[in-house]
């Protein structure tokens, strides 16, 4: 193999983020406590620059480099840019929260950037091994982030639980990959795909491997019945971290599914479709029903995530390019909704007070009409009520399912979304119809307010003009 400098161009965004993470790590060593904002600044600047680099180096064509380990295509570019933007938003929301809790440390940003790097590797992976490396980089950084507030007992417990279950899931995934390697003799997706087409491949071993891969995938998605970690981790982690975990990794999980199931094992579509149907129905059902019983908003949003994952899976299992487009649209929209939802949770918290209980949202409209209006948009978007974008995300997915003659599955989906509407409405009810119990004025930095406004209004704007984002997603599968 000959090394050529030009092969580095497609992976320039990854190299850049890696350098930025190292830079933050080193610079942070020399910073005094009150200068910590510099680490934050470098992180945000590098995320913004990374958007530019990705856009500039994008060719619109599929490039495979490093002996087939890494792929760069339109889907990866779009997903990476979405990850950068949403991560930048998450860090922005998190700044004041971290500072109020004395955990405004450079390590948060180092770990955050490594998480982003892990996601980028996953998004661009072209072999099972690359995708596994990306996944481990992502999850290892996540474990540390969940336990970031090291004095918090509940946070440590959550991290421990996440670690043990996560390691188990990684093991399953790896086991599945080894089976598939055994059956096809390759770990590269295109080669695996060809190997599967070979009638002599051992179908038994393949399906066995597929089951383990799907389990690993379902765990990373947080799909029922592999969802047990989600509520505990969301609840235990500092809200700033929950915000981060709840948003972008869903985009990465979508990429994980696309690369492994569609690129790698597209010919086994008939086999994994049935598995995803079960996962999707259980996720939508249990996620929506159990969310009703939650009194803690972080746990409620965790169960709501589970139900949204069910919808994302619906788009993937349809197995058509419109279905993939719909699922991608859904993942990005979901990440934006989660960003805003947890963002509000964080903005309502202050030093020594976590706005975690549903009660804390009572009378928000009296305390801050603007925050309440943004939360209203986010909640209706999550419930899937037009004219917010959440509706179109659901509709495109349903359309994909109906197109493959699974109308019954669409009916199941809409049925559970009615149940889901109830707990989102309850938040609106608390904000608008109840009297406030807590009259402390709400303060938030101007930057957080602006981002929240953009975040909330984007629900409406994307809902009025969904074609803009949709065509970007569709370009990835044309």
């Amino acid at each position: 193999m000959q090394f050529e400098l030009s092969t580095l161009i497609p992976v320039l965004p990854e190299i850049f983020i890696l350098s930025a993470a190292c830079l933050v790590l080193v610079v942070d060593l020399f910073l005094k406590e009150e200068q910590r904002v510099i680490s934050y600044g470098i992180t945000q600047a590098s995320l913004l620059l990374a958007i530019g680099i990705t856009a500039v180096t994008a060719t619109g064509e599929t490039q495979v480099v490093f002996d087939g380990s890494v792929i760069r295509d339109t889907m990866s570019d779009v997903l990476k840019i979405a990850i950068f933007i949403i991560t930048a938003g998450a860090f922005l929301y998190a700044k004041d929260y971290l500072r109020d809790r004395d955990i405004f440390k450079g390590e948060f940003y180092v770990l955050g950037l490594f998480t982003v790097l892990g996601m980028m590797v996953m998004v661009s992976a072209n072999t099972f091994l690359t995708i596994y490396l990306g996944l481990e980089l992502l999850t290892l950084s996540m474990y540390a982030l969940v336990a970031f507030n090291r004095d918090s007992v509940i946070g440590s417990e959550a991290a421990m639980k996440y670690f043990v279950l996560g390691a188990l899931a990684s093991g399953m995934l790896l086991y599945g990959i080894s089976m598939i390697y055994g059956a096809t003799g390759s770990i590269e997706f295109s080669a695996v795909s060809q190997g599967l087409a070979n009638p002599e491949a051992n179908k038994m071993v393949l399906i066995f491997g597929l089951v383990f891969v799907v389990i690993g995938l379902a765990f990373k998605f947080g799909a029922v019945p592999f969802h047990m970690w989600v509520p505990d981790v969301y609840h235990g982690a500092p809200t700033a971290v929950t915000l981060f975990i709840g948003s972008t990794p869903k985009i990465a999980a979508f990429a994980l599914a696309m690369r492994m199931l569609v690129d790698g094992m597209g010919t086994l579509h008939g086999d994994w479709q049935g598995m995803l149907v079960i996962l999707a129905i259980l996720s939508m059902g249990i996620g929506n029903v159990v969310a009703i019983a939650q009194a803690n908003i972080k746990r409620m949003l965790a169960y709501s995530t589970i139900s949204h994952v069910g919808f994302i899976l619906l788009g993937i299992l349809a197995g058509t390019s419109k279905g993939y487009t719909a699922a991608m649209f859904y993942s990005i929209v979901y990440a934006l909704m989660a960003l805003g939802g947890f963002g509000i949770v964080m903005l309502l918290s202050r030093r020594g007070f976590e706005a975690e209980n549903l009660e804390d949202y009572k009378g928000l409209n009296e305390r801050s009409p603007w925050f309440a209006a943004m939360m209203l948009l986010l909640m209706f978007s999550m419930a899937g009520v037009p004219p917010t974008v959440g509706f179109f995300a659901k509709m495109f997915v349903l359309e994909a399912v109906v197109s493959v003659d699974m109308t019954w599955l669409a009916l199941v989906g809409v049925f559970f979304s009615i149940i889901g509407a109830f707990y989102y409405l309850r938040i609106v009810k608390l904000m608008y119809f109840d009297k406030p119990v807590d009259d402390t004025p709400l303060t938030a930095g101007l930057d957080a307010q602006v981002v929240l406004s953009v975040n909330g209004l984007s629900m409406l704007a994307l809902g009025m003009f969904p074609a803009s984002l949709l065509s970007v997603c569709a370009a990835a599968f044309s």
Binding site: F396, E399, T407, R426, K429, L470
Partner: protein, 504 residues
């Protein structure tokens, strides 16, 4: 001269953008906010008038059409247009909204800018429902309606408002999501969301029946038909006066409109198969709900139940058409039923709005809706008493008022289907007279019941203007319904052609 203007977009977006401006203006200068809202509402009404004056009643084609691509990947369009069925309902919407704004003038002291904005946005969205010709656009408007109404009932409503508004939201949401799946299904059959293309779609009988049921869930909840009507009394009782007016006068009509635009022309064979079901449900609404109305103690609840009974006439008129067509060769009776249903919708829009406004007038003064708390109101409020009696007569279907025309047409049509239908339907003339007049007797007439009633003041100029305008509308439509019937005539005939052709 207005034919080339994007007049429909203007009627949709003027109040929505105006509503956002009102919302942004805040509550610091509440009076200026109220005036702005009123000006926007009146302006919208004025803008909607050319729909009538420039309307061509000789064609059943869609008019004032606007068409632009919206979501090209799924072939979803921003496609607007009106025919004789939707045009009167749009003007009804813009007309009623003006009075709703005026009716909330002094009563609403809590965040008036939000209140006015909610109604203006609602107006635009409701007009959108009536003129959308793309099914997905229709669905977006249809669902978007829920958000302002949810807030109106929940924020400005009565003591039990939270229960009522969540029930309202979930009921209607439940009904409509299945329609969404049906619409998506038809998209794959026809390749677009164009409603007019759906009208020409060939569908098997089983498919039609399933689609029909999906539509029925959506529209029956909205109308509301027995047995899915239970959200309506709760919502009406808790809603502020303006909310009740919009609910009764326009939102219920959207359900009826849905039957005409979707169920009948898209699934005529299924409608023909299942017409007995709808007729049965309608007759139960007319007779059984009529008796339920009789025992109500709460005036708003009474009018809410009477709305259900009156809307039963609308659905009866629509579906009796199938029986008439099966019984006879002529289509005259079928047209009579459909037109009767339409006239009844418009007329009920005026009458129910007026009745709720009357109750609102009393409630603002006494803060009670219980019939027992009143008595002898006419002694202290003679002007108001006259209006209330007039509207009560109209509600009971007295000849000369608009309430009579629609009911009479539907009863006539029922005769052609089956004498017994007509007999049952005609009982409404007795029952509705009984409950409305009995209420009026207890509230308006008699001796002054208590000190509170003795100190009542008669209606002021603002209230007089509102009730007077509606009284005029009821009277004009009752004495001379021809202008309304003429504009819808050709469209109804065209609809009947679609119904008569098998879509199998």
């Amino acid at each position: 001269m207005f034919a080339d203007w994007p007049i429909l977009s203007l009627i949709i977006w003027l109040p929505i953008i105006g509503g956002i401006l009102v919302l942004a203006s805040g509550d610091n200068a509440a009076n200026a906010t109220r005036w702005t809202a009123l000006v926007i509402a009146i302006l919208t009404f004025v803008v909607s008038l050319p729909l009538y004056s420039s309307f061509d009643p000789t064609t059943s084609d869609m008019q004032f059409v606007e068409r632009a691509s919206w979501i090209p990947l799924f072939n979803i369009e921003y496609y607007l247009g009106v025919d004789g069925i939707s045009m009167p309902l749009i003007i009804l919407t813009t007309f009623i909204t003006v009075f709703v704004i005026i009716a909330g003038w002094e009563v609403i002291q809590y965040k008036p800018s939000h209140y006015m904005a909610a109604f203006l946005i609602m107006e635009g969205v409701m007009v959108g429902v009536f003129c959308a010709l793309d099914a997905m656009l229709f669905y977006v408007f249809w669902e978007a309606m829920l958000i302002p109404m949810f807030l109106i009932i929940g924020v400005w409503g009565g003591p039990n408002r939270v229960y009522a508004t969540i029930k309202f939201f979930l009921y209607t949401f439940f009904g409509s999501v299945f329609m969404l799946v049906a619409l998506i299904y038809m998209y794959f059959q026809s390749g677009s969301f164009d409603i007019l293309a759906f009208h020409d779609l060939k569908l098997g009988l089983n498919e039609q029946i399933l689609i029909f049921i999906a539509f029925l869930l959506a529209f029956a909840v909205k109308v509301p038909m027995w047995p899915v009507h239970t959200w309506l009394p709760d919502a009406h009782v808790e809603a502020p006066t303006g909310g009740s007016v919009i609910l009764a006068a326009i939102m219920l009509k959207i359900g009826g409109y849905g039957f005409l635009r979707f169920s009948l022309p898209i699934t005529p064979n299924a409608s023909n198969e299942l017409d007995w079901l709808i007729i049965l449900m309608s007759l139960i609404a007319v007779v059984y709900i009529g008796f339920v109305t009789l025992v109500q103690q709460d005036m708003k609840k009474l009018i809410a139940y009477s709305s259900i009974a009156h809307m039963g006439f609308v659905t009866l008129g629509f579906f009796i058409a199938f029986m008439i067509m099966n019984n006879s060769e002529t289509q005259g009776g079928a047209i009579l039923g459909l037109e009767g249903g339409m006239v009844q919708m418009v007329s009920h829009g005026f009458i129910s709005a007026a009745m709720f406004l009357c109750v609102g007038v009393l409630y603002d003064r006494m803060h009670s809706r219980q019939i027992n708390d009143y008595g002898g109101v006419i002694n202290t409020m003679p002007l108001f008493g006259a209006f209330m009696v007039f509207f009560a007569m109209a509600n009971a279907g007295l000849p000369g008022t608009s309430g009579f025309v629609g009911e009479f047409m539907v009863i006539l049509a029922s005769f052609r289907a089956d004498v017994w239908f007509a007999v049952l339907a005609a009982t409404t003339l007795i029952i509705s007279a009984a409950y409305t007049l009995w209420m009026v007797k207890r509230v308006v007439f008699g001796k002054v019941a208590n000190n509170n009633v003795a100190t009542l003041e008669d209606i002021n100029n603002r209230e007089f203007f509102v009730l007077g305008s509606l009284a005029l509308a009821v009277l004009v439509l009752g004495l001379w319904p021809a202008p309304l019937v003429e504009v819808m005539d050709v469209s109804i005939e065209n609809l009947l052609k679609h119904i008569a052709v098998s879509k199998l």
